[in-house]
Every structure is written in C-alpha cells, then in structure tokens.
Amino acid sequence: MRDKIFVLIIFIIIIAIPVSIFFRKEKNISVTENRVLLAKQDIKIDRYINDKLNTYLQDQFIFGETLKNIYNNEKNKIIGISMNFIEKNNIMKKIPMGKGLFRLANSDYIVYKDAKLEDYKNQYLINLNSINNLYEKHKDKDFFVYNIVSDDILEYKDEYERFIREKLDENIMFKSSSQINNWEDYKKSFYKTDHHWSKDGQYAGYVDIANMMEIENIVLVSGEKTFDKIRFYGSKARELGNFGDVYDSLVVNEYDYPDMLIEINRKEVADYGDARAFYEGKIPQGEIGENYYADFYGTDYALIKITVEENKGKENILIFSNSYSNPINKLIASSFYNTYIIDLRHWETQFGEKFDADEFIESQNINRVLIIGGFNYFKHEKSLIK
C-alpha cells in the first residue's frame, strides 16, 4: 500500500506540472527577469525542440517567478552569512555576492568590481579617438565630455581622469564627477541596488555639466517627493535575484521645467518618462523587480528631441549618452532650443540605418556636442561615434 501511494504521488507530480503549464493562461513577461517568456507558439519541431521545451516549461512553470525569487533570496542569505564572516574579519572592502557584484563592507550598497584602467585602456582609447575624430570635422562646434565616476572606477578615479584628459583633444572640454571622491560620496550619489545616480547624484551631475558648459540659469530644485509604497529593486538586485530587505526608495527632485515639445524616435509624445502617472497613483506600486527608475525618468531610446520654444534663438545641443542622462535630459534641455539625446545602442535597430554623426550635426544645426558616460560607456564598442 505504501509503495502504491508513493508511486501515485510521484506520478501525480510529474503529470500535474506539465498539465498545469499547458492548460493555464501563458505568462508573457517576467518582471523580475525583465525578459519575454517563451510561449507555445515559439516551439517548433526542429533540432532545438528539446531546449525550447525545457525553456518553455521553466518559463511557464506555475508560481515559477515566485519560486525563483524565494530561491534567490535564500541563496543570497547563504552568501550573506559568508559575507558577514568576511566583513567581521576585515578580509575585503568589497565583499563578493556573485555575478561580479559585491557588497560594500559595512553598508547595504551593491557595487561592481574595481576596473583597473590597464585592462580597459584599449577600449577607452578607441572611444576617445572616435570623439576626437568627430571634433576634427566639426571644430566650429563646442565639444564637452563628462565622465561619470561610479563604483567600478572610484578606486582609480585619478588615473582614469588623467588618461581621458590626456587622450582627448585639448580643445574638448572635459570634466569628471567632482562630487564623487570616496565611498561616502558614492553612497550619497547612487542607489544602493541600482547602477544609476540617485536624486542627489543626478542633480549634482547636472550642476557639474552645467558648470562645465557655462550654462547660466541653472534649473533649481523646487521640491522633493517620496513615493512611500515603492520598493525599487534596482538593476544590481535584479541581476542577483535579491528581492529581500535591501532596496531603494523612490525619492525624486521636483523642478519647474519650461514648456517642452518632446519627440521620441521622431514621434511626438506627451512627456519623456511617466512622472505624471506616479503622481496620479496610476503606477502599480510594490511590484517586485519593476524598473521604477526607467518608469519614472524615461527609458532608453535611439533619439529623443526636446524643443523649448521660449529658447528659440538659443543654441542646439546634441548629447550622446545612455540611461545615466535620462533623469537630467530635461534639465539640460531647459537651457537650449533643440536638445537631441542619442543612445547609439538603439539607433540602427530603430531606424534601420547606421548613424551618420556628421550629417546629423550639420542638418540639425548643432552648436554643442556633449558626451556623458561612465565606465560602461567608454569601454563599450557600441559607444563609437561614426
């Protein structure tokens, strides 16, 4: 009898699971993993059928996302125990959490591994030369480069700054994050669980850039808002699957922007980012793994154009950047007539053609070119401006 019950239970498990998967409504997206899940229609009878069946069953597993979160939380607790030991014994300043991520000792901040300049010199050089080449062809424009100092290069900040300044054309204005000089500064300017600037870091970065470009009438902070119910598990937490007690609050600065006409990928939109939906309480709060940073400030697009009519007659600026500039695009745009923000990673996919920097600068009457980037920008081949 016991054997019969045992066999029956095992049989029920191996039948119930696929039946529950095949006959329930499919999930399209995993919020925590930030990817599209495989559906039945994606499975074809070909040489990859086994892999696809596996992925399908895993993606559509009942309570799959919840179970993965529980597993990852427990895994991170186990790592946490080892980390506490390392921390107590002062073995390391950055305590490994796995996947190239670390916890800054005696804090909750998740940080990247230190990136030694010597390992990335070649990549940096290629990128900086592409900027120099562009400047060579447009010497009548003002060029600016802003280097964001973050957790990966903080230990080598001076080296990176010297290197970039040395390799950039001397006529290109260059500045590096002036407010980030040590780990205490870092904590004030960055999220605990995300690689982006927090609200204070965003504003300090904007002020740095504005000062570098000698912008008059810097936009001032008019207020602050905290979205109490939001637990922002940033990119680093999502990579680790760490959805436990360490998260960021969503606290934002408020500004009085001038009226702006905004186009995203050449289509007019009401706004960049969805701040209004947050204020109106329309954004579902408490979603584990939701990228609230992108939701609030705006996500990455090939081309964003911001026009401030009241600045007609003022200069036009072209900004090359990535997601770091998302919270400050409108701040910078407040001082220009037309502001173009280009994320080169998405240009070709969006417009089906390679980006032609020379043509763009001339056709859009660009007066200033600004490059905003950190370690991952300058070391990446997709940053090359051609």
């Binding site: 045992f6 993993e33 597993y71 186990i78 796995g98 690689h195 990119s235």
Partner: protein
C-alpha cells in the same frame, strides 16, 4: 536530453510510463517496442544527426551475432570489433591522432569537423560485450532484433551508463517483473540520483570550475586542494547520481542493472577505490581485456604489461587527450606498487592512514583528470609541492559565487560515505513502518526541492542596463 531536465521529467518520462504501462504485462514484445521507440526518440532529440550511427550499430551487430557459427565466428568477431572500434575511433580519437601527428611530425593535416555522438563510448562497449559474449558462447545470440535494439538503446543507460552486460538483462528482455514495489524502489533510487546531481554536484561544480578555470600560476596550494575536493564531489555526485537515476529508471521498467558505485571515497587503497568507482567500466576491462591478456596468471612482466595496457585504455576511454592517458598511467603505477608491496603495508597500518593515503592519491588523480593542459597540471602540482600561498581576496573578488557553495560542500562531506544511509537504515529498523513513511515523505520533499533547484537554474535576467 538529460534526466535532470524539465523536458525529460515532465514530458518524456510520463509519456513513456503511460505508453509502457497501458500495455498488459503479458505483451512483453509490445512493451519492448515502446521502450525501443522511446529510447530512439530520447537519443534523437539530443543527437538528430547521429541517429543513423545508432541504427547502423544495432543492425550490423545484430547481424554479426546472429550469423555467427563455428566456422565464421572468429572472423565475424574481428570484423565486428573493427567496425565498433572504428566508429569510436573516428568520432572520438581521429582528431586527437591528427593533432598528435601534426605536433610530432610537424605536418599540417586538417582536423575533421565532427562532434562526438553522445554516449558512443558507453553503447559501443555495451555492444562489444554482447558480440564477444556470443562469440565465447556465454550467451545465445538474441534472435529478435527488437530485443537487441532495446538492449543497446535502452534510454536509462544509453548516454552515461552503467555499461550493462547482455547477460545481466538477457532474461529480463523476454520476461520482466511488473510489481509496484519495484516501481516504487525505482522511483526512490531515481530521486536520490537526481538530488545528488542537481543539488550537490551542480553546486560544488561552481567552486571546482572557479578554481580550475583560474590561472594556475596564481593558485595557491590551499585553493588547489579545495578545488580538487570540490571536483571530487562534483564528479562523484554527478556520475553516481546519473547511475542512480539509470538504475532507478531501469527498475521502473523491470530491469535490474548492477551497481556502478560503492562509496569510492571510503576506499583504503587505490585497488579498493577501483572496485568501488565506475564498477561497470572496470569490470568490462577486466573481463574483455585484462583476463584475455592473461590477467595475473602469467609472468610478472606480462602481468605489469597487462595492467599498463588496461589502464592506458581506461584513461583513453575517458577522453581523447594526453592528460587522460597520463591519468591512466598514474593509476597503473600506483596499482602495481600496491600489488607488489604497498597493500601489505596498508593492511597493517590503522585504517585512518590508509584512508588519507587513498584520498590524497585520488585527489591528485582528479587534478590530472580535470585539467586538460599538461603545463597547467605541472604548474598546479608544483604549487602544491612548494606550498604556494593562496590569495583568497583576489580569488573571491573574481569568483564571488563560490560563497554560495559552502552548504553544498558540507552536504557533500555528509553524503560521500554510507554514514547517512546507515543512519536512516537504523532509524527505519527501529521505527518499522513509521520510518518507511517518513523516508517516503522525505523523498517526495527532496524531489520537489530538486525541481525548484532546476527551475531556479533557469533564472536568466536580461540586464540591458550595464551601459
């Protein structure tokens, strides 16, 4: 397809069970056909292009064995061995031979663009054991090609063993038990094997890989030993786990395969270790190579020759690379020394020292086995001998994931010996039926936990943000 995958657990296995068990037990031929079709499907899903090789092997060897008579048996055996070893040679060893010739003779022969068919080492040896046994008249040739094909392609042991002698399953091919007790026992064994592989092996592998994928020049002695132990656990729990699953699945379908592992890390000598590790392979080499060569019933020189031949072949069987041959030779030398005098010494000293002696040599062996580059092996051994210091901070900075491995490492230490099994056996004896129910509840729990581990391994966040 592998046993530790969702497609096997939740699609292939339930379908096979239903198809197999809806057929009444008296229709054994029909059941064999189901097993054959499902086994070929199991193989094809993983290896579409080499399905033909499998079918060819089955047909050719069936014909060789069925056509054997007193006049032609020798020639048919030779042709069969050439065919089987030829296939193995082409797919597994030809490129190694080409590369070796290029190195020695400074030629520039292009290697072939061929991949190793999954399981070819296992099923080739299995086929050869059948043909040889027919030749030696130890078994009668199986007249039904379905039965031969079922024996050769049976999915529980097709891709990773154990190597099943035809004698073991000869009767079961035509007459199998179909009892619930056996099916339950099979599932229990399967679950234990699955847990060993998914929970222990897959996790300690993180540590082993972190160590052995690092630059050998930078590895300290302490870290190398830890990596070796981690790899020892990985390979044991992976391989024995897979064997457990194979034996369990065999039992579910009415077959009784022989044990393939017997707690090898409690061995008191290397001789003892090889009686406990991959038993089906060492038995195969003993029966079909060592004994025909004369075994130990010959002069000492021939005896040593026989040992060297068997162990070079054993090493070579594991992989087409020089480190595997060196690994085989390494054990050949130790085994000879044990047979000559060491075993006598080991039998006299306290068991703890013979355990330490065995573990030490086994771990060195695993380093040679794991690290395919000869220069890297030498460097690691030098680091061990010179007690090179370990820079733990640098290692952890590059391999933070290993911090997660600690509890699985501890689990490995608990499970590598029969202590846990004996403990549960004792509890069951003391508590009778209650203990058996508790055991089953634990096994169901372990099964569910293992499924969660498999699910969690698919966590794959898309992080576009890194830029």
């Amino acid at each position: 397809m592998v046993f530790s995958s969702f497609s096997f657990l939740f699609i292939f296995l339930p379908i096979t069970l239903i198809l197999y068990y809806i057929i009444p037990k008296k229709y054994i031929k029909a059941k064999n056909i189901v097993l054959l079709i499902m086994s070929l499907l199991f193989y094809t899903i993983g290896e579409v292009k080499y399905f033909g090789i499998m079918i060819l092997s089955i047909i050719v060897n069936y014909l060789f064995s069925i056509k054997m008579n007193d006049k032609n048996r020798k020639i048919l055996l030779i042709i069969s061995l050439i065919f089987n070893l030829g296939l193995l040679g082409i797919f597994k060893y030809l490129n190694f031979l080409i590369l070796t010739l290029n190195n020695i003779l400074r030629t520039n022969i292009t290697t072939l663009n061929i991949t190793l068919p999954i399981g070819i080492s296992f099923y080739t040896f299995q086929i050869m054991s059948y043909v040889i046994d027919v030749f030696l008249k130890k078994v009668k040739p199986q007249k039904s090609i379905i039965n031969v094909a079922t024996y050769i392609s049976l999915f529980p042991q097709l891709i990773a063993g154990p190597i099943v002698n035809y004698k073991t399953v000869e009767n079961e091919l035509t007459n199998r038990e179909q009892k619930v007790e056996k099916i339950a026992s099979g599932f229990r064994r399967f679950i234990i094997g699955l847990a060993k592989k998914v929970i222990i092996a897959n996790n300690v592998a993180i540590l082993a890989d972190a160590v052995f994928n690092s630059n050998p020049l930078e590895l300290g002695a302490g870290l190398i030993w830890i990596g070796a132990i981690a790899y020892a656990f990985q390979i044991y729990f992976d391989f024995s786990g897979y064997s457990d699953m194979a034996i369990g699945l065999g039992r579910i379908f009415g077959f009784n395969f022989l044990e393939n592992f017997n707690y090898p890390y409690i061995a008191t000598s290397i001789t003892d270790f090889w009686r406990r590790w991959h038993i089906s392979l060492s038995s195969w080499f003993r029966e079909y190579v060592y004994i025909p060569l004369g075994g130990n019933r010959c002069s000492k020189i021939k005896w040593f020759r026989n040992i060297f031949i068997v162990w070079i072949l054993t090493g070579f069987w594991h992989g087409a690379n020089w480190n595997f041959i060196i690994w085989g030779l390494y054990f050949a030398v130790i085994l000879i020394m044990e047979k000559m005098f060491l075993l006598k010494i080991l039998n006299k000293i306290p068991k703890i020292f013979s355990h330490i002696y065995s573990i030490f040599l086994i771990l060195i062996g695993w380093i040679i086995f794991r690290v395919e580059d000869i220069n890297a092996i030498l460097q690691l051994l030098i680091n061990l001998v010179t007690f090179k210091k370990t820079n733990l901070s640098t290692f952890l900075a590059d391999n933070g994931d290993v911090l997660y491995v600690v509890p699985f490492f501890i689990l490995g230490i608990i499970c590598f010996s029969p202590l846990l099994k004996n403990f549960f056996k004792y509890i069951v004896e003391k508590t009778n039926t209650i203990g058996l129910y508790i055991r089953d509840i634990m096994l169901v729990t372990i099964f569910i936990v293992t499924i969660i581990f498999l699910l969690a391994a698919s966590y794959n966040p898309f992080i576009y943000f890194r830029f």
